[in-house]
Symmetry: C2
Subunit: 752 residues, 2 copies
């Protein structure tokens, strides 16, 4: 274990993007403290206040260790200060080992001594419900007043292994380039234990976030983004208390530092009532998943993928060049399983060029299979040097972005003949070297991954992940592929092109008269369809032609103006799902029909509302031109997500939206390229592109409509939801047929 | 390791279903041989012919070991016979270690000596393409002629560990109740290695199937179904050379013996050309998956799930009673991940009863979370006996079908205090006992699963799987749940109710005149729509009313008879996708329109076929009543699968079938209950049941239509494909609007 002086370690190499520092210097002091006050230090070996001091000494923490206890004395050879204020020597961080009720006052004491932060180990706060919430509020208040930043409470501790600072205490934890931010203590413990038992990269920083009452995920992530000893960041989160900030920081960090996220609570239903289709069809986790991907983070959904994926991304370059991955197997069965796993993960398999195949045939002889997987069929059994030779040929193929080696490598000396050990060891070094020289990622699956063989150790020391599970190895490879795609997109995009301004092509400059003003005046959350339409028109969203009418005569007049058939819809300030309420009549072609419909849609909504004890609040009717059936009906909506702000949803529309559940989601702002990507993700994408010889819909018009709705949401923070369903998309037109909007009545949003 | 005499081990307990024996007695001799001839025995330690003899001696094989080599002499203390025929003592099985070209003649020699079977280790057969295929044909012929059954060729070997017969040679393999049938040698090797390193049940039988040229999966499975020392069977297969037989045997075996299948090659495109939607939307693997589930096998899609799931099903009862599983966690984070994993796997979480919660509160104190997961929140940290106490309360709840324990159990002495070791060990035994007494399954996730702690060993010895990955533990629990559902369905169904006869409600007895006869006479694979309709009518499938017409006048007459609007469709013996070919005109309401349509659909098909160099073969037109839009359009089809025979596909229909890909699949025969299950699996199921206040479609009529189509397929083996798309389903009617059929022209099928 190499010890670095904190100051030296803090130097950021010139190649790094300038570190994002949100409260950076203070976190610098907290996570690389010159000295630590252990508050509640104890002579009792079973107590945390003893164990922490002991652990700091055992791990070789080089800074100043200052035990604090009112009774004073000496602990493990160190003089005990009677209070934090009385601590001697440089002290940046407190570790508070005392029970929850004592904490707020101790935080204030830390402030008086000029400490930067405090680790609060005690549980007994917000996680206990109301009883603990008050105490947590007191703690947060103390932190704000004193300027001391708090890690936790209810944290499992922190770790800066290069510095010898280990409050978690998993024996055997090795220093290395991984960092971990974990909400759950047990999840961190599991991961650290796995890292000890399974060969690979070790740790620099670990932070247990606990209740995340003061210091948040994004602040730690910003710090790690500027820490040169970190090669990949793992995140275990159950919720993001400030999701927008996390995404912002992740977006800045991810291009130069891989971020891997495991989100717990994926299936937990949110507490938000789903008022619209947009809310009902896009699950909370779909939003999180989309947001993370937009920010360039890699999501894993298995806890046992977190460590292998992070080790892959820390040790190997992203799979950038080439059209797919290749599999190199020394047996058919597992090669096939690897191909299944990659394809199911959406990773393309490269097609090897003719030249590559010719050269491989020369190397491997007549029995080898030269598709993808390449299967040695025994060609390496007596000569492991065939592995690096084959790898070199495959990686030289421009179609190939990276390789997964599958099978027995690293165990040839164990399985076949002990005298192969030396050759296998040499081959391992060559494998790693060939991949490094090619600048392409390599991951090895081996039945013998945990055998401790020399060949395996050689690979691992060279930063090549070696995994015992075919599926986990492929997951690691898929992560490298995914990161490669993200970096390619960023490279194509250029750093300056992000932002809401890019997606406001139809924005009008002057916001007067404000279409939301009447609703604001009335304290009404639901917008009249006429109000939604006015807002959309201003932002250049094409709408079906319609007239607002408050008498039967006006409605008949509207029919004359619009011609053809019309749809008559009630306009209400409370009932926005008009069809269910009998508030819509379709296909009126005569004045009589319109006159009758005028009455019936009003009555329909009134009765429907009456039965439910609601004020029907009917303001009139909309008479809209009836359009011919489109090629595709879509849903396009924006809504505010509690964690991530405005979210855009695009999907299959019409009445069966919740049945089809065919949607794509992005956190705003988005660029037109991302909107096209969303459309491509839909199952109905082939219908948009022209299915079975039919012409495609006006895709550019559709992208423009979606971009303009997104711009409206970005520009009007007060907008809580605005859903267009259906949007009729045809080869020659794209038009919103119906619109439903809500404004926020929360004071802070409405004001903003 | 206990050695059992082969004869004694063969006794089947009375509680077992009578063993299914396809060639059973001969396999009995092969897999429990009284003596083994090692053909190609060698004095050279690096040769298989030496290693096999050595391995048999080392493992303590108690039968007769007879080395065979023309040069004779003595090998490892055993006299070498110059030929198989000259072998002395009882010999049931040969292990052939010589190169491929020698094998056919050696098989014949085995026959002359009266051997039951031969293990052929050599590669160099079918897997090399044409060169090897001829040799494999020679081998198969020799097997048939001699009556010697062949394992392999290209097999990784076999293992009967209770007997000391081990041709695979993974050091440390423990005897136990698992059996493995593996197509891939490396997959078997990986699994055996994992089993050595990860605590749990050991092995009785392993068979490497290799090329499966003679003995097939279903034959081994039938043998294992009658082997009392087997508690669960694992299968790794890339293809089933006789899929129908495998399903038949699996269906018989699975009710009393868990069968777990990993299918490699899931994403590999079949070589079958997709002629119909039915073929295009139901992937080959969807068919395999559905077939396995129907047979009661549990499918896993990760190779690293195969062993844990089999150990779970061998060691614990299926989760039968109760409405869902419960999670018992000693930390929130991992409990949440377990809940995510179970929910994503479609396993419901039980809702604990009020009484259970009250008792848990008394036991666990105020801080515990009593939802599902139940989270101890530290209540067990100093007293592991809380685990079995809580488990007993939870398993007593009738809502709970089984429990996943998640967290640190088994590592309390390691993590918290060494003096907890004894209490933890006691608690482990109690946990296993509580579950056993409740008759409900238990699986334990532990960070310390591989620590070798006394508590972990205690659990494992009691048959409780202990897994290091939360996700794998949940997969094991989900498998127990899945098996429970299958056994419940079987219990409800009664053993006698399966079979094609149950699903032929509309079958007519007399098959004359045969609607397929004209196509047969003409050697024509595609059926005219009129022929498909005639077949469907006979089987009671409701069809839209239509008239076949060969002149314009007849077509006009048909309009008069049918009334309203009609659809005019060309009837061709070659062009079955009429719409694309311009062979359909919809909505003809006048004689003029019908007359014009008559000409245009014929011309359309003729031109379309002409452009493609096809014979248009137009026989006339169908004039069909035009129906109003239905509530739901469905696709219902049958087709023959190369492995599994006739397969039924039900899904969302219409023109966007391949876009929606919303289908359910079953291998025939099916019962009406299974058809209802298929409809429930569709994403469009809510539309069928009545979405948003609309009335449901005539579900019973729909089930009848599907059952009748299925019956037709079961009764007419010659039917290659028959697809109804769309089927119009509405509240008051279910009717097939269009039908496309193909007959098989393969001689063996056409004759049958």
């Amino acid at each position: 274990m190499t010890m670095e002086h904190p100051k030296a370690a803090a130097a950021v190499p010139a190649t790094r993007t300038p570190a994002i520092r949100e409260d950076g210097p203070q976190l610098e002091r907290i996570l690389r403290p010159r000295g630590i006050a252990v508050v509640g230090a104890s002579q009792e070996p079973t107590k945390r206040g003893y164990q922490v001091v002991r652990a700091l000494q055992n791990r070789g923490y080089e800074g100043n260790i200052q035990p604090v206890n009112p009774s004073g004395g000496v602990l493990l050879g160190l003089p005990v200060a009677p209070s934090v204020e009385a601590a001697s020597g440089p002290v940046d961080l407190a570790v508070i080992c005392t029970p929850a009720p004592t904490v707020p006052e101790l935080i204030r004491a830390c402030g008086r001594r000029g400490l930067a932060g405090a680790v609060v180990l005690a549980a007994g706060f917000r996680e206990l419900g109301e009883r603990g919430a008050a105490l947590e509020a007191a703690l947060t208040a103390a932190a704000r007043e004193s300027g001391v930043r708090v890690i936790g409470p209810n944290t499992s501790g922190i770790l800066n292994l290069p510095l010898g600072l280990d409050l978690i205490g998993v024996p055997g934890t090795r220093p290395g380039r991984l960092a971990l931010l974990a909400q759950s203590g047990n999840a961190a413990l599991a991961l650290l234990n796995d890292a000890v038992d399974r060969p690979g990269e070790g740790f620099s920083f670990v932070v247990g976030l606990g209740n995340e009452s003061d210091l948040r995920f994004h602040e730690y992530l910003a710090f790690l983004g500027g820490a040169p000893e970190v090669g990949a960041v793992m995140v275990h989160a159950e919720s993001f208390r400030d999701g927008e900030a996390f995404l912002r920081v992740a977006r800045d960090v991810a291009p130069h530092l891989p971020v891997v996220v495991l989100k717990g609570g994926r299936t937990r239903a949110g507490d938000r009532a789903a008022r619209s289709h947009t809310g009902a069809v896009a699950s909370d986790h779909l939003v999180v998943r989309s947001a993370l991907r937009q920010a360039g983070a890699v999501e894993v959904t298995r806890s046992d993928d977190l460590l292998p994926v992070a080790r892959m991304l820390a040790g190997q370059p992203a799979a950038r060049r080439g059209r797919g991955l290749a599999i190199l197997a020394d047996g058919g069965g597992q090669g096939t399983l690897a191909a299944d796993t990659l394809e199911e993960a959406g990773v393309p398999l490269a097609e090897l060029g003719e030249g590559t195949r010719t050269r491989l045939r020369e190397l491997l002889g007549p029995n080898a299979a030269l598709g993808n997987p390449v299967d040695f069929a025994g060609a390496a059994d007596r000569d492991p040097s065939v592995f690096p030779q084959a790898l070199e040929l495959i990686l030289a193929d421009p179609e190939v972005a990276g390789v997964v080696v599958v099978g027995l490598f690293g165990g040839y000396a164990i399985r076949f003949a002990a005298e192969l050990e030396g050759a296998e060891w040499t081959a391992a070094g060559e494998l790693a070297g060939v991949a490094r020289d090619a600048g392409k990622p390599l991951v090895v699956h081996s039945i013998y991954a945990e055998s401790g063989s020399r060949a395996i150790r050689e690979l691992v020391e060279a930063g090549v992940p070696v995994l015992r599970s075919v599926e986990t190895a492929c997951r690691a490879a898929a992560a490298s592929w995914e990161r490669g795609r993200h970096l390619e997109v960023l490279a194509g995009r250029g750093p300056a092109s992000r932002g809401a301004g890019d997606v406001a092509p139809g924005a009008a400059a002057a916001p007067e008269p404000d279409p939301l003003e009447p609703a604001r005046q009335e304290g009404r959350p639901a917008l009249l369809e006429t109000e939604s339409r006015a807002l959309l028109e201003r932002w250049g969203v094409p709408l079906v032609t319609a007239r607002f009418c408050t008498t039967g005569e006006e409605a008949v007049q509207a029919l004359a103006e619009l011609g053809g058939e019309v749809v008559v819809k009630a306009v209400s300030g409370t009932v926005l799902h008009k069809t269910e309420a009998g508030g819509v009549v379709v296909g009126c072609a005569t004045p009589e029909a319109v006159e009758s419909a005028y009455g019936s849609v009003r009555r329909g909504v009134e009765e429907w509302a009456g039965e439910r004890g609601l004020d029907p609040d009917v303001r009139g009717v909309l008479v809209a031109r009836r359009l011919p059936s489109p090629t595709v009906e879509l849903l396009v909506g924006v809504r505010r997500d509690a964690s991530f702000g405005h979210v855009l949803t695009v999907g299959a529309g019409g009445t069966a939206v919740e049945v089809l559940k065919d949607v794509a989601v992005r956190v705003l702002p988005v660029e037109p390229a991302e909107i096209r990507e969303m459309l491509d993700e839909l199952r109905i994408a082939p219908l948009l592109r022209g299915h079975r010889g039919r012409p495609p819909v006006d895709l550019e018009g559709l992208v423009r409509l979606i971009a303009n709705l997104a711009s409206a949401a970005c520009a009007v923070p007060e907008l809580e939801e605005l859903e267009l369903n259906p949007v009729f998309a045809s080869p020659d037109s794209v038009v919103a047929v119906d619109a439903r909007g809500y404004r926020s009545t929360a004071p802070e949003v409405a004001a903003g």
